[in-house]
């Protein structure tokens, strides 16, 4: 970007500045003539035009900077500039206990917070060696919440993708459906986004009463609402015209660039970590891996739409199991790891439930000690490293967690699918038109929080 700090012109945005690559103009809506007037003779004008899109741009999925070299309307070179949302989450996690790490990692990929939490928590549980001790109800709740999150994430992808190509109704109905999912999240976890609900050892709270009815009502309603997206988009000639054969990336390209998720499945290869390397009991659920065979943006859209139907199937099965598991524990039995407190709404807001206070103050000294030690110091994780990948809505999300035996992670690195998938932008966009760049990126569905962490 043109550095306006090198010199102090009177008008920051009209005159060009000299850089090592030639003159750079910051074009911000002023008269095109004022720019061409400043170009001077024809000798120093080259053919190529470098256009900078973003990082503030309505259709770049967050703060993504695209540097495009154009020849007319054709993109000859496309590069991504990322890092505009780098938050230092991974470094922050090294200064917090293992449980507090969940609140940080949940904000990475903010459209799929449960998946970030699940990847981290599963890695920590593998390091602790309690993978087999997680209560069934906790695993079923994790699956339920992850699949609900998959639906809400795909809805946002379809909604924003539609908005970017001008299908504003898709955006409106997408966010309308997403509100239903967020209401469920609020009922179960207390928050609409960034929940910090999965903890090492299980989940933080049990299901509130009435949740299963709400879930079943949601499923029934979604079965009537999801066909609307298919009706609006699948055979829509403008939609197909914008998406078919745009952003093509075949299987070899996907594997070389490390792409996973709907992009890989749109090439026809049914690779889904929920089936091939299951976790949280996914092997016991009945669902199919959805693929398409055209390896273009339209295929990815159809894969996402179909995956939402599969997620509904899984949610139904999870709700049935939860009905059977009424009253079961949601945290691991080992009291030296299990998060101790239970929250409840009292007369002055949300806080520790009075039952829990009575238990630790009056009934059990050990419980008080555990509560105190776990909340102030946290549990210790034996030294070692673990990498547990899960299938997030965007692809393979893995947490590489290293422990040195202490109460804080030595290193927590997240292999984020959006970070890897976004590398395909150049391959998908070069040679196409500028408008296709938007569609190609929308089909990759990057979330910049995950890309930059």
């Amino acid at each position: 970007m043109a550095s306006s700090t090198d010199e102090t012109p009177t008008d920051y945005y009209a005159s060009g500045s000299e850089t090592s690559d030639g003159r750079v103009f910051t074009v911000t809506g002023q008269d095109w003539d004022s720019i061409t007037a400043g170009l001077g003779g024809l000798d120093d004008v080259e053919e190529r035009v470098v256009v900078n899109m973003g990082p503030q741009h309505p259709s770049t999925h967050g703060v993504l900077r695209l540097i495009l070299e154009l020849e007319g309307e054709t993109v000859t070179v496309a590069r991504c500039g990322i890092g505009y949302l780098h938050t230092g989450i991974e470094k922050n996690m090294e200064y917090r206990s293992w449980v507090q790490g969940v609140t940080f990692c949940t904000r990475m990929d903010y459209l799929a917070p449960f998946f970030n939490e699940a990847a981290y928590v599963l890695s920590v549980e593998r390091l602790l060696g309690i993978e087999g001790d997680i209560p069934e109800k906790a695993s079923v709740m994790r699956v339920l919440l992850m699949e609900l999150n998959r639906i809400s994430s795909h809805l946002v992808c379809i909604a924003t993708g539609g908005m970017e190509i001008g299908a504003l109704t898709v955006m409106t109905i997408g966010f309308r459906e997403r509100e239903l999912v967020l209401d469920l999240f609020e009922l179960i976890t207390g928050l609409r986004m960034n929940h910090a609900f999965f903890r090492p050892g299980g989940v933080a709270q049990d299901l509130p009463p009435g949740a299963l009815d709400e879930i079943r009502g949601f499923v029934a309603l979604m079965k009537k609402r999801l066909p609307e997206y298919a009706d609006l988009c699948n055979a829509n000639p403008i939609f197909k015209g914008r998406l078919v054969d745009v952003g093509h990336l075949d299987l070899a390209g996907c594997l070389a660039l490390g792409l996973t998720g709907p992009v890989l499945r749109s090439t026809g290869y049914p690779w889904d970590l929920r089936k091939t390397q299951p976790y949280c009991g996914y092997e016991t659920y009945d669902f199919d891996v959805q693929t398409w065979d055209t390896a273009d943006s339209y295929g990815r859209f159809r894969v996402r739409l179909a995956e939402m139907w599969e997620s509904l199937k899984i949610i139904e099965q999870a709700a049935d199991r939860l009905a059977r598991l009424e009253g079961g524990p949601v945290m691991v039995a080992d009291k030296k790891i299990a998060w101790p407190s239970q929250l409840a709404i009292g007369s002055d807001g949300m806080g520790n439930s009075l039952d829990h206070i009575r238990h630790i103050m009056g009934e059990s000294m050990e419980a008080l000690i555990h509560h105190f030690k776990l909340v102030t110091e946290g549990f210790r994780v034996p030294p070692g490293q673990a990498y547990v990948p899960i299938e997030s809505p965007r692809g393979e999300l893995g947490a590489h967690v290293v422990s040195d035996g202490g109460t804080r992670p030595l290193r927590a690195h997240f292999r984020d699918p959006s970070f890897t998938n976004l590398q395909a932008t150049s391959v998908m966009s070069e040679g196409g038109m500028v408008a296709d760049v938007i569609v190609a990126i929308a089909s990759i569905d990057p979330v910049m929080g995950g890309v930059d962490r």
């Binding site: 070389a256 490390g258 091939t276 946290g378 990948p389 690195h413 590398q423």
Partner: protein, 243 residues
């Protein structure tokens, strides 16, 4: 907690790493933890500040590894033996159901290529590079960890390379796994590990002219004190903490 390097054999305070009689694993000391509950300095009357404990990471495993690990190790050894590179694998660690090959830095491209191309190995997908800064591991402080996935055989392995702080160079494997392009840039940005042969090794997450490598352990967290009404709280790395 502070880490300092120790030779476990010489310090009388430290426990000698034990080897189980029947298991096939050893442990490896990498640094020392001192103190407990965040107690430090002369104000400590509890005595916890004087605790000293070696950090013992899982060490090299011995054959047989069990399961499909042997198959992978055999195939790799066959390839390495054929090209006279037996020293490329420094150590094999099996821990918590995952296998880690510690690879010598200069042999990494060859090993990665074997992992990708050999019929029995076929690790097509690299899930990226992760950097770790082990302050207590003298002469091998900076580790780069690669996770490989074989879709054909449905397996995962980990490759780990350790390089010293003074000369943090690792050959780039972008030519073998193009997906590592941005991952290696990120590891360079955050840790300062220079990947030789990378097509465009520049900063990717921090601004281009940022000094230092943020996720190294000697780089501060960088927070500021937070002002409240009537007081101020120091940033997380300077606060009183219990862990």
């Amino acid at each position: 907690m502070s880490d300092r390097t120790q030779d476990p054999a010489q310090d009388p305070h430290l426990p000698v790493p034990q080897e189980d009689q029947d298991a096939s694993t050893t442990v490896e000391a990498m640094g020392v933890r001192e103190g407990m509950f965040g107690v430090r300095g002369t104000g400590d009357t509890s005595g916890y500040g004087g605790l000293v404990k070696t950090t013992l990471f899982p060490g090299a495993s011995r054959r047989p590894y069990g399961g499909w690990f042997d198959e992978v190790a055999d195939a790799l050894e066959a390839r390495l033996g054929a090209t006279d590179l037996d020293g490329a694998i420094e150590r094999v660690v099996i821990d918590r159901g995952e296998i880690t090959f510690h690879v010598r830095a200069q042999d990494l491209p060859f090993v990665a290529q074997m992992f990708r191309d050999d019929e029995a190995l076929r690790f097509e997908l690299c899930s990226g590079v992760s950097g770790v800064h082990y302050v207590g591991d003298t002469d091998r402080e900076l580790h780069a960890v690669y996770h490989l996935l074989s879709m054909t055989h449905n397996r995962r392995v980990r490759l780990e390379v350790g390089v010293p702080d003074a000369d943090p160079h690792i050959p780039s494997i972008v030519s073998i796994y193009p997906t590592n392009d941005w991952h290696e840039r990120e590891t360079y940005d955050m840790f300062g590990i220079v990947f030789d042969g990378h097509p465009a090794l520049t900063r990717i997450l921090m601004p281009d002219d940022w000094p230092g490598h943020p996720q190294r352990k000697d780089y501060p967290l960088g927070g500021i004190p937070v002002e409240y009404k009537g007081g101020s709280i120091p940033p997380p790395d300077q606060r009183r903490s219990y862990n």
